[in-house]
Protein backbone atom coordinates (compact mmCIF):
# COMPACT_ATOMS: atom_id res chain seq x y z
CA UNK A 1 0.00 0.00 0.00
CA UNK A 2 1.32 3.50 -0.78
CA UNK A 3 2.16 5.74 2.12
CA UNK A 4 -0.95 7.29 3.65
CA UNK A 5 -1.42 11.06 3.36
CA UNK A 6 -2.56 11.20 6.95
CA UNK A 7 -1.85 8.67 9.62
CA UNK A 8 -3.15 8.91 13.15
CA UNK A 9 -1.94 6.43 15.74
CA UNK A 10 -3.44 5.97 19.21
CA UNK A 11 -4.34 9.63 19.44
CA UNK A 12 -5.58 10.79 22.82
CA UNK A 13 -6.95 14.11 23.92
CA UNK A 14 -7.96 14.51 27.54
CA UNK A 15 -9.42 17.74 28.86
CA UNK A 16 -8.79 18.33 32.56
CA UNK A 17 -11.78 18.95 34.83
CA UNK A 18 -10.78 21.61 37.31
CA UNK A 19 -12.57 22.37 40.52
CA UNK A 20 -12.29 24.51 43.58
CA UNK A 21 -10.35 27.64 44.45
CA UNK A 22 -7.01 26.21 43.41
CA UNK A 23 -8.30 24.78 40.14
CA UNK A 24 -7.12 21.36 41.10
CA UNK A 25 -7.56 18.76 38.41
CA UNK A 26 -10.09 16.27 39.68
CA UNK A 27 -10.47 14.18 36.55
CA UNK A 28 -10.36 14.15 32.79
CA UNK A 29 -12.86 14.23 29.98
CA UNK A 30 -11.49 11.66 27.62
CA UNK A 31 -12.72 13.32 24.46
CA UNK A 32 -10.49 11.25 22.23
CA UNK A 33 -9.28 8.04 23.78
CA UNK A 34 -6.73 6.28 21.63
CA UNK A 35 -8.03 6.33 18.09
CA UNK A 36 -6.13 5.35 14.96
CA UNK A 37 -6.96 5.98 11.33
CA UNK A 38 -5.19 6.44 8.05
CA UNK A 39 -6.31 8.26 4.95
CA UNK A 40 -4.89 7.62 1.49
CA UNK A 41 -4.39 10.40 -0.99
CA UNK A 42 -7.56 11.21 -2.93
CA UNK A 43 -9.73 9.34 -0.46
CA UNK A 44 -12.63 10.67 1.61
CA UNK A 45 -12.70 9.34 5.13
CA UNK A 46 -15.99 9.86 6.95
CA UNK A 47 -15.94 10.16 10.71
CA UNK A 48 -19.39 9.69 12.21
CA UNK A 49 -20.75 9.70 15.71
CA UNK A 50 -23.26 11.41 17.92
CA UNK A 51 -22.68 14.63 19.82
CA UNK A 52 -20.01 14.14 22.44
CA UNK A 53 -18.38 11.26 20.60
CA UNK A 54 -15.19 13.29 20.14
CA UNK A 55 -15.27 13.45 16.36
CA UNK A 56 -14.69 17.21 16.18
CA UNK A 57 -11.86 17.01 18.71
CA UNK A 58 -10.16 14.47 16.47
CA UNK A 59 -10.21 16.99 13.62
CA UNK A 60 -8.86 19.80 15.76
CA UNK A 61 -6.17 17.68 17.36
CA UNK A 62 -4.93 16.39 14.01
CA UNK A 63 -4.39 19.91 12.76
CA UNK A 64 -2.95 21.02 16.14
CA UNK A 65 -5.63 23.56 16.93
CA UNK A 66 -5.63 21.82 20.28
CA UNK A 67 -2.60 19.91 21.47
CA UNK A 68 -2.74 16.15 21.84
CA UNK A 69 -2.38 14.32 25.13
CA UNK A 70 -0.75 11.27 23.59
CA UNK A 71 -0.29 9.56 20.26
CA UNK A 72 1.07 10.39 16.85
CA UNK A 73 -0.13 12.32 13.81
CA UNK A 74 1.76 11.91 10.57
CA UNK A 75 0.99 14.05 7.55
CA UNK A 76 2.84 13.12 4.35
CA UNK A 77 5.19 11.14 6.55
CA UNK A 78 6.01 14.13 8.77
CA UNK A 79 5.26 13.89 12.49
CA UNK A 80 3.19 17.04 13.05
CA UNK A 81 3.83 17.04 16.77
CA UNK A 82 7.59 17.03 16.19
CA UNK A 83 7.48 20.35 14.34
CA UNK A 84 8.47 23.74 15.69
CA UNK A 85 5.83 26.51 15.51
CA UNK A 86 7.55 27.95 12.42
CA UNK A 87 7.66 24.61 10.65
CA UNK A 88 4.04 23.95 11.57
CA UNK A 89 3.03 27.30 10.15
CA UNK A 90 4.72 26.41 6.91
CA UNK A 91 2.89 23.13 6.56
CA UNK A 92 -0.53 24.46 7.63
CA UNK A 93 -1.65 25.74 4.21
CA UNK A 94 -1.64 22.19 2.94
CA UNK A 95 -4.19 21.08 5.54
CA UNK A 96 -7.30 23.20 5.89
CA UNK A 97 -10.38 23.12 8.09
CA UNK A 98 -13.98 23.93 7.14
CA UNK A 99 -16.55 24.47 9.86
CA UNK A 100 -20.25 23.94 10.29
CA UNK A 101 -21.32 27.52 10.73
CA UNK A 102 -19.64 29.53 8.03
CA UNK A 103 -21.06 32.80 9.31
CA UNK A 104 -19.29 32.65 12.64
CA UNK A 105 -15.98 31.96 10.91
CA UNK A 106 -16.19 35.14 8.82
CA UNK A 107 -15.38 38.61 10.09
CA UNK A 108 -18.53 40.66 9.40
CA UNK A 109 -16.49 43.76 8.52
CA UNK A 110 -14.16 42.18 6.03
CA UNK A 111 -15.15 41.96 2.39
CA UNK A 112 -15.48 38.39 1.26
CA UNK A 113 -12.81 38.68 -1.43
CA UNK A 114 -10.32 39.99 1.13
CA UNK A 115 -11.26 37.27 3.60
CA UNK A 116 -10.55 34.63 1.01
CA UNK A 117 -7.26 36.20 -0.09
CA UNK A 118 -6.07 36.98 3.43
CA UNK A 119 -4.36 33.68 4.08
CA UNK A 120 -2.45 33.80 0.78
CA UNK A 121 -1.08 37.18 1.71
CA UNK A 122 -0.35 36.14 5.24
CA UNK A 123 1.59 33.06 4.25
CA UNK A 124 3.36 35.00 1.48
CA UNK A 125 2.20 32.49 -1.09
CA UNK A 126 1.40 35.00 -3.81
CA UNK A 127 2.39 38.55 -4.65
CA UNK A 128 -0.19 41.14 -3.64
CA UNK A 129 -1.13 42.14 -7.16
CA UNK A 130 -1.97 38.59 -8.18
CA UNK A 131 -4.22 37.87 -5.24
CA UNK A 132 -7.35 39.41 -6.70
CA UNK A 133 -7.14 37.18 -9.75
CA UNK A 134 -6.51 34.08 -7.67
CA UNK A 135 -9.51 34.90 -5.48
CA UNK A 136 -11.72 35.42 -8.53
CA UNK A 137 -10.61 32.09 -9.87
CA UNK A 138 -11.38 30.23 -6.66
CA UNK A 139 -14.73 32.03 -6.31
CA UNK A 140 -15.63 30.72 -9.71
CA UNK A 141 -14.70 27.15 -8.94
CA UNK A 142 -16.85 27.34 -5.81
CA UNK A 143 -19.87 28.48 -7.78
CA UNK A 144 -19.71 32.17 -6.87
CA UNK A 145 -19.20 35.13 -9.20
CA UNK A 146 -16.76 37.99 -9.47
CA UNK A 147 -19.34 40.48 -8.20
CA UNK A 148 -19.33 38.67 -4.87
CA UNK A 149 -15.74 39.83 -4.26
CA UNK A 150 -16.63 43.18 -2.71
CA UNK A 151 -19.64 42.04 -0.72
CA UNK A 152 -19.85 41.55 3.04
CA UNK A 153 -20.68 38.22 4.73
CA UNK A 154 -24.18 39.32 5.82
CA UNK A 155 -25.19 39.70 2.18
CA UNK A 156 -24.87 35.98 1.58
CA UNK A 157 -27.22 33.08 2.24
CA UNK A 158 -26.14 30.07 4.30
CA UNK A 159 -25.23 27.98 1.29
CA UNK A 160 -23.21 30.79 -0.26
CA UNK A 161 -21.37 31.36 3.01
CA UNK A 162 -20.39 27.73 3.06
CA UNK A 163 -19.09 28.20 -0.49
CA UNK A 164 -16.99 31.08 0.86
CA UNK A 165 -15.68 28.82 3.63
CA UNK A 166 -14.69 26.27 1.03
CA UNK A 167 -13.09 28.93 -1.19
CA UNK A 168 -11.02 30.16 1.73
CA UNK A 169 -9.63 26.69 2.32
CA UNK A 170 -9.19 25.96 -1.36
CA UNK A 171 -7.17 29.01 -2.29
CA UNK A 172 -4.19 27.67 -0.35
CA UNK A 173 -4.12 24.60 -2.58
CA UNK A 174 -4.34 22.16 0.31
CA UNK A 175 -3.78 18.42 0.06
CA UNK A 176 -6.08 17.62 2.96
CA UNK A 177 -9.36 19.28 3.92
CA UNK A 178 -10.91 18.51 7.27
CA UNK A 179 -14.59 19.39 7.01
CA UNK A 180 -16.46 19.46 10.31
CA UNK A 181 -20.23 19.10 9.73
CA UNK A 182 -20.02 21.37 6.68
CA UNK A 183 -23.57 20.77 5.46
CA UNK A 184 -25.43 20.26 8.74
CA UNK A 185 -26.73 23.81 9.01
CA UNK A 186 -28.02 23.91 5.43
CA UNK A 187 -31.45 23.25 3.98
CA UNK A 188 -31.90 20.05 1.98
CA UNK A 189 -31.89 21.69 -1.45
CA UNK A 190 -28.75 23.68 -0.63
CA UNK A 191 -27.11 20.74 1.11
CA UNK A 192 -27.22 18.77 -2.13
CA UNK A 193 -25.50 21.64 -3.96
CA UNK A 194 -22.64 21.75 -1.45
CA UNK A 195 -22.21 17.97 -1.38
CA UNK A 196 -21.91 18.01 -5.16
CA UNK A 197 -19.38 20.84 -4.92
CA UNK A 198 -17.21 18.79 -2.52
CA UNK A 199 -17.38 15.94 -5.01
CA UNK A 200 -16.50 18.07 -8.01
CA UNK A 201 -13.53 19.70 -6.27
CA UNK A 202 -12.18 16.31 -5.31
CA UNK A 203 -12.39 15.12 -8.90
CA UNK A 204 -10.74 18.20 -10.37
CA UNK A 205 -8.10 18.83 -7.72
CA UNK A 206 -7.39 15.41 -6.27
CA UNK A 207 -8.26 16.57 -2.76
CA UNK A 208 -8.30 14.30 0.26
CA UNK A 209 -11.08 14.83 2.81
CA UNK A 210 -11.64 13.98 6.41
CA UNK A 211 -15.38 14.49 6.53
CA UNK A 212 -16.83 14.75 10.03
CA UNK A 213 -20.59 14.37 10.26
CA UNK A 214 -23.44 12.93 12.27
CA UNK A 215 -25.51 12.31 9.15
CA UNK A 216 -24.98 8.82 7.82
CA UNK A 217 -26.84 9.41 4.59
CA UNK A 218 -24.51 12.30 3.71
CA UNK A 219 -21.45 10.29 4.72
CA UNK A 220 -22.52 7.32 2.64
CA UNK A 221 -22.88 9.59 -0.31
CA UNK A 222 -19.49 11.22 -0.10
CA UNK A 223 -17.04 8.92 1.65
CA UNK A 224 -15.02 5.94 0.55
CA UNK A 225 -14.07 4.80 4.06
CA UNK A 226 -15.97 5.40 7.26
CA UNK A 227 -15.11 5.32 10.94
CA UNK A 228 -17.76 5.20 13.66
CA UNK A 229 -16.89 6.83 16.99
CA UNK A 230 -18.56 6.47 20.35
CA UNK A 231 -17.41 8.20 23.55
CA UNK A 232 -13.94 8.96 22.23
CA UNK A 233 -13.22 5.51 20.85
CA UNK A 234 -13.38 4.09 17.37
CA UNK A 235 -15.97 1.33 17.27
CA UNK A 236 -15.73 0.30 13.66
CA UNK A 237 -13.97 1.27 10.43
CA UNK A 238 -14.64 -0.17 7.02
CA UNK A 239 -15.02 0.76 3.41
CA UNK A 240 -18.32 2.45 2.69
CA UNK A 241 -19.96 -0.48 0.94
CA UNK A 242 -18.84 -2.93 3.58
CA UNK A 243 -20.02 -0.74 6.47
CA UNK A 244 -23.48 -0.17 5.05
CA UNK A 245 -24.02 -3.73 3.82
CA UNK A 246 -22.40 -5.58 6.65
CA UNK A 247 -22.14 -3.49 9.83
CA UNK A 248 -20.57 -5.53 12.61
CA UNK A 249 -20.78 -3.33 15.67
CA UNK A 250 -24.18 -3.13 17.42
CA UNK A 251 -23.74 0.64 17.72
CA UNK A 252 -23.25 1.01 13.97
CA UNK A 253 -26.32 -1.17 13.41
CA UNK A 254 -28.37 0.94 15.79
CA UNK A 255 -27.20 4.17 14.15
CA UNK A 256 -28.06 2.87 10.70
CA UNK A 257 -31.47 1.69 11.77
CA UNK A 258 -32.28 5.01 13.45
CA UNK A 259 -31.79 7.15 10.35
CA UNK A 260 -35.25 8.11 9.09
CA UNK A 261 -35.77 7.05 5.49
CA UNK A 262 -38.08 9.16 3.33
CA UNK A 263 -40.29 6.26 2.31
CA UNK A 264 -43.64 6.21 4.12
CA UNK A 265 -44.98 3.02 5.72
CA UNK A 266 -41.61 1.34 5.28
CA UNK A 267 -41.31 -1.68 7.54
CA UNK A 268 -37.83 -2.23 8.85
CA UNK A 269 -36.23 -3.61 11.89
CA UNK A 270 -35.11 -0.93 14.22
CA UNK A 271 -32.71 -1.20 17.11
CA UNK A 272 -33.86 1.50 19.50
CA UNK A 273 -31.10 2.28 21.98
CA UNK A 274 -32.05 2.94 25.54
CA UNK A 275 -30.91 6.03 27.37
CA UNK A 276 -28.35 8.66 26.49
CA UNK A 277 -24.67 8.73 25.67
CA UNK A 278 -22.88 8.43 29.07
CA UNK A 279 -20.83 11.22 30.59
CA UNK A 280 -17.41 11.20 28.85
CA UNK A 281 -15.76 12.24 32.14
CA UNK A 282 -16.88 8.94 33.61
CA UNK A 283 -17.21 6.44 30.76
CA UNK A 284 -18.43 2.92 31.51
CA UNK A 285 -15.79 0.28 32.19
CA UNK A 286 -15.21 -2.50 29.71
CA UNK A 287 -16.80 -1.78 26.37
CA UNK A 288 -17.97 1.83 26.55
CA UNK A 289 -21.13 0.94 24.69
CA UNK A 290 -22.26 -1.86 27.01
CA UNK A 291 -24.71 0.33 28.97
CA UNK A 292 -26.81 0.90 25.86
CA UNK A 293 -26.04 -2.25 23.91
CA UNK A 294 -29.00 -4.60 23.46
CA UNK A 295 -26.67 -7.59 23.09
CA UNK A 296 -24.23 -6.96 25.95
CA UNK A 297 -23.01 -9.96 27.93
CA UNK A 298 -21.03 -10.19 31.18
CA UNK A 299 -17.68 -9.97 29.45
CA UNK A 300 -18.57 -6.59 27.87
CA UNK A 301 -18.79 -4.98 31.31
CA UNK A 302 -15.28 -5.93 32.31
CA UNK A 303 -13.05 -6.32 29.32
CA UNK A 304 -12.28 -3.59 26.79
CA UNK A 305 -12.70 -5.13 23.35
CA UNK A 306 -9.66 -4.98 21.08
CA UNK A 307 -9.98 -3.00 17.86
CA UNK A 308 -9.16 -5.79 15.44
CA UNK A 309 -9.33 -6.64 11.75
CA UNK A 310 -12.39 -8.77 11.14
CA UNK A 311 -11.21 -9.45 7.61
CA UNK A 312 -10.46 -7.37 4.54
CA UNK A 313 -9.71 -4.15 6.37
CA UNK A 314 -12.99 -4.13 8.28
CA UNK A 315 -11.99 -3.18 11.81
CA UNK A 316 -14.30 -3.53 14.79
CA UNK A 317 -14.07 -3.28 18.56
CA UNK A 318 -16.66 -5.74 19.86
CA UNK A 319 -16.46 -9.04 21.71
CA UNK A 320 -19.44 -10.42 19.86
CA UNK A 321 -18.66 -9.42 16.29
Amino acid sequence: MPEALLEVNHLKKYFPIQKGLLNRTVGHVKAVDGISLSIQKGETFGLVGESGSGKSTVGKTIIRLTEKTEGEVKFKGVDLYGLSPQELRKIRPSMQLIFQDPYSSLNPRVRVGDAIGEALLDHGLAPKEEIRNLVLEVLKSCGLSSYHFDRFPHEFSGGQRQRIGIARALILNPDLIIADEPVSALDVSIQAQIINLFRKLQDTRGLTYLFISHDLSVVEHLCSRIGVMYLGSMMETASRDELFKNPLHPYTKALLSAVPIPIPKLKRERIVLKGDIPNPADPPAGCKFHTRCPFAVGRCKEEVPVFRDAGGGHFVACHLA
Partner: protein
Protein backbone atom coordinates in the same frame (compact mmCIF):
# COMPACT_ATOMS: atom_id res chain seq x y z
CA UNK B 1 -63.04 12.00 11.14
CA UNK B 2 -63.99 15.49 12.24
CA UNK B 3 -61.81 18.52 11.77
CA UNK B 4 -60.13 19.42 15.03
CA UNK B 5 -58.56 22.60 13.73
CA UNK B 6 -59.27 24.38 10.49
CA UNK B 7 -57.25 27.33 9.25
CA UNK B 8 -58.78 29.42 6.50
CA UNK B 9 -56.86 31.97 4.44
CA UNK B 10 -54.39 32.77 7.17
CA UNK B 11 -51.96 35.57 6.39
CA UNK B 12 -49.32 36.68 8.86
CA UNK B 13 -47.09 39.57 7.88
CA UNK B 14 -44.05 41.09 9.52
CA UNK B 15 -42.96 44.69 9.18
CA UNK B 16 -39.23 44.92 8.71
CA UNK B 17 -36.88 47.75 7.82
CA UNK B 18 -36.85 46.58 4.24
CA UNK B 19 -40.63 46.36 3.97
CA UNK B 20 -43.47 43.94 4.52
CA UNK B 21 -42.57 40.24 4.73
CA UNK B 22 -45.44 37.90 3.98
CA UNK B 23 -44.26 35.08 6.20
CA UNK B 24 -47.54 33.20 5.87
CA UNK B 25 -49.58 34.12 2.83
CA UNK B 26 -53.14 32.87 2.44
CA UNK B 27 -52.64 29.46 3.99
CA UNK B 28 -55.55 27.09 4.55
CA UNK B 29 -55.21 23.72 6.21
CA UNK B 30 -56.87 21.39 8.64
CA UNK B 31 -55.94 18.71 11.11
CA UNK B 32 -58.51 16.04 11.86
CA UNK B 33 -59.01 14.19 15.11
CA UNK B 34 -56.27 11.64 15.70
CA UNK B 35 -54.38 12.67 12.59
CA UNK B 36 -50.71 13.64 12.22
CA UNK B 37 -50.17 16.45 9.75
CA UNK B 38 -46.60 17.34 8.85
CA UNK B 39 -45.71 20.77 7.56
CA UNK B 40 -42.45 20.52 5.68
CA UNK B 41 -40.32 23.19 4.08
CA UNK B 42 -36.96 24.90 4.26
CA UNK B 43 -35.96 27.75 6.54
CA UNK B 44 -38.06 30.84 6.00
CA UNK B 45 -40.98 29.07 4.33
CA UNK B 46 -43.40 30.09 7.09
CA UNK B 47 -43.96 26.74 8.74
CA UNK B 48 -43.14 27.94 12.24
CA UNK B 49 -45.02 31.21 11.87
CA UNK B 50 -48.12 29.19 10.96
CA UNK B 51 -47.84 27.40 14.29
CA UNK B 52 -47.18 30.60 16.20
CA UNK B 53 -50.23 32.18 14.62
CA UNK B 54 -52.43 29.35 15.88
CA UNK B 55 -51.18 29.85 19.41
CA UNK B 56 -51.44 33.63 19.31
CA UNK B 57 -47.69 33.93 19.75
CA UNK B 58 -47.07 36.33 16.89
CA UNK B 59 -45.91 39.45 18.62
CA UNK B 60 -47.13 42.90 17.79
CA UNK B 61 -45.81 45.29 16.73
CA UNK B 62 -43.73 43.76 14.02
CA UNK B 63 -45.79 40.71 13.31
CA UNK B 64 -49.51 40.77 12.63
CA UNK B 65 -52.14 38.31 11.54
CA UNK B 66 -53.75 40.38 8.81
CA UNK B 67 -56.35 37.95 7.59
CA UNK B 68 -57.94 34.57 8.15
CA UNK B 69 -59.76 32.41 10.63
CA UNK B 70 -58.55 29.61 12.84
CA UNK B 71 -61.37 27.35 13.97
CA UNK B 72 -60.49 25.03 16.79
CA UNK B 73 -63.18 22.87 18.29
CA UNK B 74 -65.86 25.26 17.08
CA UNK B 75 -64.21 28.49 18.28
CA UNK B 76 -62.39 31.08 16.17
CA UNK B 77 -59.09 31.43 17.99
CA UNK B 78 -58.40 34.82 16.44
CA UNK B 79 -61.55 36.28 18.01
CA UNK B 80 -60.77 35.10 21.54
CA UNK B 81 -59.50 37.32 24.32
CA UNK B 82 -55.98 36.78 25.65
CA UNK B 83 -57.35 34.97 28.68
CA UNK B 84 -59.57 32.64 26.72
CA UNK B 85 -56.69 31.79 24.44
CA UNK B 86 -54.48 31.15 27.43
CA UNK B 87 -56.97 28.61 28.76
CA UNK B 88 -56.98 26.79 25.44
CA UNK B 89 -53.19 26.82 25.28
CA UNK B 90 -52.92 25.27 28.71
CA UNK B 91 -55.56 22.61 28.16
CA UNK B 92 -56.38 21.71 24.60
CA UNK B 93 -53.35 22.75 22.57
CA UNK B 94 -49.76 22.12 23.66
CA UNK B 95 -46.55 22.93 21.93
CA UNK B 96 -42.98 21.66 21.94
CA UNK B 97 -40.12 23.51 20.32
CA UNK B 98 -36.78 22.66 18.82
CA UNK B 99 -34.55 23.83 21.64
CA UNK B 100 -35.68 22.35 24.95
CA UNK B 101 -32.92 24.16 26.81
CA UNK B 102 -34.22 27.56 25.82
CA UNK B 103 -37.85 26.64 26.53
CA UNK B 104 -37.16 25.70 30.14
CA UNK B 105 -36.32 28.13 32.89
CA UNK B 106 -32.73 27.45 33.99
CA UNK B 107 -33.27 28.54 37.61
CA UNK B 108 -36.37 26.45 38.30
CA UNK B 109 -36.29 22.76 39.10
CA UNK B 110 -37.69 20.37 36.49
CA UNK B 111 -40.49 19.37 38.87
CA UNK B 112 -41.65 22.94 39.42
CA UNK B 113 -41.84 23.52 35.69
CA UNK B 114 -43.97 20.44 35.15
CA UNK B 115 -46.16 21.32 38.16
CA UNK B 116 -46.85 24.91 37.18
CA UNK B 117 -49.40 24.24 34.41
CA UNK B 118 -50.95 21.47 36.48
CA UNK B 119 -51.59 23.89 39.32
CA UNK B 120 -52.71 26.77 37.11
CA UNK B 121 -54.80 24.95 34.53
CA UNK B 122 -55.90 21.75 36.23
CA UNK B 123 -56.25 23.26 39.70
CA UNK B 124 -54.28 20.47 41.37
CA UNK B 125 -52.84 21.02 44.83
CA UNK B 126 -49.08 21.30 45.16
CA UNK B 127 -48.79 17.78 46.52
CA UNK B 128 -50.99 16.24 43.83
CA UNK B 129 -49.10 18.14 41.17
CA UNK B 130 -45.77 16.81 42.40
CA UNK B 131 -47.02 13.24 42.34
CA UNK B 132 -48.41 13.75 38.86
CA UNK B 133 -45.07 15.27 37.78
CA UNK B 134 -43.21 12.17 38.90
CA UNK B 135 -45.71 9.99 37.03
CA UNK B 136 -45.27 12.07 33.91
CA UNK B 137 -41.48 11.83 34.05
CA UNK B 138 -41.78 8.06 34.27
CA UNK B 139 -44.25 8.09 31.42
CA UNK B 140 -41.75 9.73 29.08
CA UNK B 141 -39.26 7.00 29.78
CA UNK B 142 -36.88 8.63 32.24
CA UNK B 143 -35.75 6.43 35.11
CA UNK B 144 -34.94 7.92 38.51
CA UNK B 145 -38.01 10.17 38.25
CA UNK B 146 -37.87 11.02 41.96
CA UNK B 147 -34.39 12.49 41.57
CA UNK B 148 -35.05 14.14 38.24
CA UNK B 149 -38.00 16.04 39.64
CA UNK B 150 -35.59 17.98 41.87
CA UNK B 151 -32.90 18.52 39.22
CA UNK B 152 -32.23 21.66 37.24
CA UNK B 153 -32.34 21.75 33.43
CA UNK B 154 -28.55 22.03 33.07
CA UNK B 155 -28.14 18.69 34.78
CA UNK B 156 -30.00 16.85 32.01
CA UNK B 157 -29.00 15.98 28.46
CA UNK B 158 -30.75 17.40 25.41
CA UNK B 159 -32.71 14.21 24.84
CA UNK B 160 -33.92 14.13 28.44
CA UNK B 161 -34.93 17.79 28.33
CA UNK B 162 -36.98 17.18 25.22
CA UNK B 163 -38.72 14.34 27.07
CA UNK B 164 -39.46 16.76 29.90
CA UNK B 165 -40.94 19.19 27.37
CA UNK B 166 -43.13 16.37 26.07
CA UNK B 167 -44.14 15.51 29.63
CA UNK B 168 -45.25 19.12 30.15
CA UNK B 169 -47.02 19.15 26.80
CA UNK B 170 -49.01 15.98 27.39
CA UNK B 171 -49.74 16.72 31.05
CA UNK B 172 -53.02 18.38 30.15
CA UNK B 173 -54.04 15.58 27.74
CA UNK B 174 -54.25 18.04 24.86
CA UNK B 175 -56.36 17.44 21.78
CA UNK B 176 -53.68 18.96 19.58
CA UNK B 177 -49.92 18.83 19.99
CA UNK B 178 -47.92 21.23 17.88
CA UNK B 179 -44.31 20.08 17.61
CA UNK B 180 -41.91 22.47 15.90
CA UNK B 181 -38.75 20.60 14.82
CA UNK B 182 -38.86 18.55 18.05
CA UNK B 183 -35.94 16.30 17.15
CA UNK B 184 -33.79 18.53 14.98
CA UNK B 185 -31.28 19.29 17.73
CA UNK B 186 -31.03 15.66 18.83
CA UNK B 187 -28.87 12.74 17.78
CA UNK B 188 -30.47 10.12 15.54
CA UNK B 189 -30.65 7.44 18.20
CA UNK B 190 -32.40 9.85 20.56
CA UNK B 191 -34.60 11.11 17.73
CA UNK B 192 -35.80 7.55 17.16
CA UNK B 193 -36.76 7.29 20.84
CA UNK B 194 -38.66 10.59 20.84
CA UNK B 195 -40.56 9.87 17.62
CA UNK B 196 -41.54 6.45 18.94
CA UNK B 197 -42.85 8.06 22.07
CA UNK B 198 -44.90 10.66 20.23
CA UNK B 199 -46.49 7.92 18.12
CA UNK B 200 -47.28 5.95 21.24
CA UNK B 201 -49.00 8.86 22.99
CA UNK B 202 -50.95 9.63 19.88
CA UNK B 203 -52.28 6.09 19.68
CA UNK B 204 -53.15 5.95 23.36
CA UNK B 205 -55.02 9.22 23.54
CA UNK B 206 -56.24 9.91 20.00
CA UNK B 207 -54.36 13.19 20.12
CA UNK B 208 -53.76 15.05 16.85
CA UNK B 209 -50.25 16.17 16.00
CA UNK B 210 -49.11 19.05 13.84
CA UNK B 211 -45.46 18.29 13.23
CA UNK B 212 -43.25 20.93 11.69
CA UNK B 213 -40.00 19.70 10.24
CA UNK B 214 -37.51 20.09 7.42
CA UNK B 215 -36.60 16.40 7.48
CA UNK B 216 -38.41 14.34 4.86
CA UNK B 217 -37.34 11.17 6.65
CA UNK B 218 -39.19 12.24 9.79
CA UNK B 219 -42.21 13.18 7.67
CA UNK B 220 -42.33 9.73 6.08
CA UNK B 221 -42.21 8.12 9.48
CA UNK B 222 -44.78 10.22 11.24
CA UNK B 223 -47.26 11.80 8.85
CA UNK B 224 -50.70 10.80 7.72
CA UNK B 225 -51.00 13.94 5.66
CA UNK B 226 -48.26 16.25 4.38
CA UNK B 227 -48.24 19.96 3.60
CA UNK B 228 -45.28 21.39 1.67
CA UNK B 229 -44.63 25.10 2.08
CA UNK B 230 -42.41 27.39 0.04
CA UNK B 231 -41.92 31.13 0.60
CA UNK B 232 -45.02 31.49 2.78
CA UNK B 233 -47.38 29.50 0.60
CA UNK B 234 -48.58 25.93 0.43
CA UNK B 235 -47.30 24.53 -2.84
CA UNK B 236 -48.48 20.97 -2.39
CA UNK B 237 -50.40 18.80 0.01
CA UNK B 238 -51.63 15.26 0.10
CA UNK B 239 -51.85 11.91 1.80
CA UNK B 240 -48.33 10.80 2.76
CA UNK B 241 -47.87 7.68 0.62
CA UNK B 242 -49.29 9.35 -2.49
CA UNK B 243 -47.23 12.47 -2.00
CA UNK B 244 -43.95 10.58 -1.62
CA UNK B 245 -44.76 8.17 -4.44
CA UNK B 246 -45.82 10.73 -6.94
CA UNK B 247 -45.05 14.29 -5.92
CA UNK B 248 -46.73 16.79 -8.21
CA UNK B 249 -45.07 20.14 -7.59
CA UNK B 250 -41.56 20.51 -9.07
CA UNK B 251 -40.37 21.81 -5.69
CA UNK B 252 -41.57 18.70 -3.85
CA UNK B 253 -40.07 16.55 -6.59
CA UNK B 254 -36.74 18.38 -6.25
CA UNK B 255 -36.72 18.14 -2.47
CA UNK B 256 -37.33 14.42 -2.54
CA UNK B 257 -34.66 13.88 -5.18
CA UNK B 258 -32.02 16.00 -3.46
CA UNK B 259 -32.10 14.17 -0.15
CA UNK B 260 -29.42 11.48 0.07
CA UNK B 261 -30.98 8.19 1.15
CA UNK B 262 -29.15 5.44 2.95
CA UNK B 263 -28.41 2.41 0.77
CA UNK B 264 -29.47 4.26 -2.37
CA UNK B 265 -26.29 6.00 -3.33
CA UNK B 266 -26.05 7.94 -6.56
CA UNK B 267 -22.92 9.41 -8.08
CA UNK B 268 -24.29 12.89 -8.17
CA UNK B 269 -27.12 14.16 -6.07
CA UNK B 270 -29.89 16.02 -7.76
CA UNK B 271 -29.89 19.58 -6.52
CA UNK B 272 -32.40 22.36 -6.97
CA UNK B 273 -30.49 25.27 -8.54
CA UNK B 274 -30.44 28.71 -6.95
CA UNK B 275 -31.91 29.63 -3.61
CA UNK B 276 -35.09 30.65 -1.84
CA UNK B 277 -36.28 34.07 -3.09
CA UNK B 278 -35.89 37.18 -0.97
CA UNK B 279 -39.28 37.62 0.75
CA UNK B 280 -39.11 41.35 0.08
CA UNK B 281 -38.78 40.94 -3.65
CA UNK B 282 -41.70 38.66 -4.40
CA UNK B 283 -43.82 39.60 -7.39
CA UNK B 284 -47.01 38.18 -8.80
CA UNK B 285 -45.54 34.92 -10.06
CA UNK B 286 -44.96 31.38 -8.98
CA UNK B 287 -42.34 31.94 -6.26
CA UNK B 288 -40.48 28.86 -7.40
CA UNK B 289 -40.27 29.84 -11.06
CA UNK B 290 -36.60 30.85 -11.24
CA UNK B 291 -35.50 27.51 -9.77
CA UNK B 292 -37.94 25.38 -11.75
CA UNK B 293 -37.01 23.16 -14.68
CA UNK B 294 -40.49 23.42 -16.14
CA UNK B 295 -40.84 27.19 -15.92
CA UNK B 296 -43.24 28.61 -18.52
CA UNK B 297 -44.13 32.20 -19.40
CA UNK B 298 -47.22 32.24 -17.24
CA UNK B 299 -45.16 31.14 -14.19
CA UNK B 300 -43.26 34.44 -14.28
CA UNK B 301 -46.30 36.65 -14.36
CA UNK B 302 -49.10 34.97 -12.47
CA UNK B 303 -49.40 33.03 -9.28
CA UNK B 304 -50.94 29.55 -9.54
CA UNK B 305 -53.68 28.65 -7.06
CA UNK B 306 -53.62 25.50 -4.93
CA UNK B 307 -55.92 23.08 -6.74
CA UNK B 308 -56.75 19.42 -6.65
CA UNK B 309 -54.60 17.50 -9.12
CA UNK B 310 -55.69 13.99 -8.26
CA UNK B 311 -57.92 12.74 -5.49
CA UNK B 312 -56.34 13.57 -2.10
CA UNK B 313 -53.51 15.58 -3.62
CA UNK B 314 -53.35 19.29 -4.34
CA UNK B 315 -50.65 21.39 -5.97
CA UNK B 316 -50.17 25.04 -6.83
CA UNK B 317 -48.52 24.76 -10.22
CA UNK B 318 -49.36 25.95 -13.72
CA UNK B 319 -48.27 22.62 -15.21
CA UNK B 320 -51.48 21.07 -14.00
CA UNK B 321 -53.69 24.03 -14.82
CA UNK B 322 -52.33 23.97 -18.36
CA UNK B 323 -53.02 20.27 -18.61
CA UNK B 324 -56.58 20.98 -17.58
CA UNK B 325 -56.96 23.74 -20.14
CA UNK B 326 -55.70 21.59 -22.98
CA UNK B 327 -57.62 18.52 -21.95
Amino acid sequence: MNDLIRIDHLSTYFDTEGGKVKAVDDVSLRVREGETVCIVGESGCGKSVTAMSILGLVEEPGGKIVNGQIHFDGKDLLQLSKNELRTIRGNDISMIFQEPMSSLNPVLKIGEQIMEPLIVHQKLSKKEARERAIQLIEQVGISRAKQIVDSYPHELSGGMLQRIMIAIAISSSPKLLIADEPTTALDVTIQAQILDMLRQFKEQSNMSIMLITHDLGVVAEMADYVIVMYAGKIVEEGEVVKLFQSPKHPYTQGLLKSKPIINQRQDELYSIPGQVPNPLELTDSCYFHDRCEHCMDICRTKQPALKEVTGQQKAACWLYEEALVHA
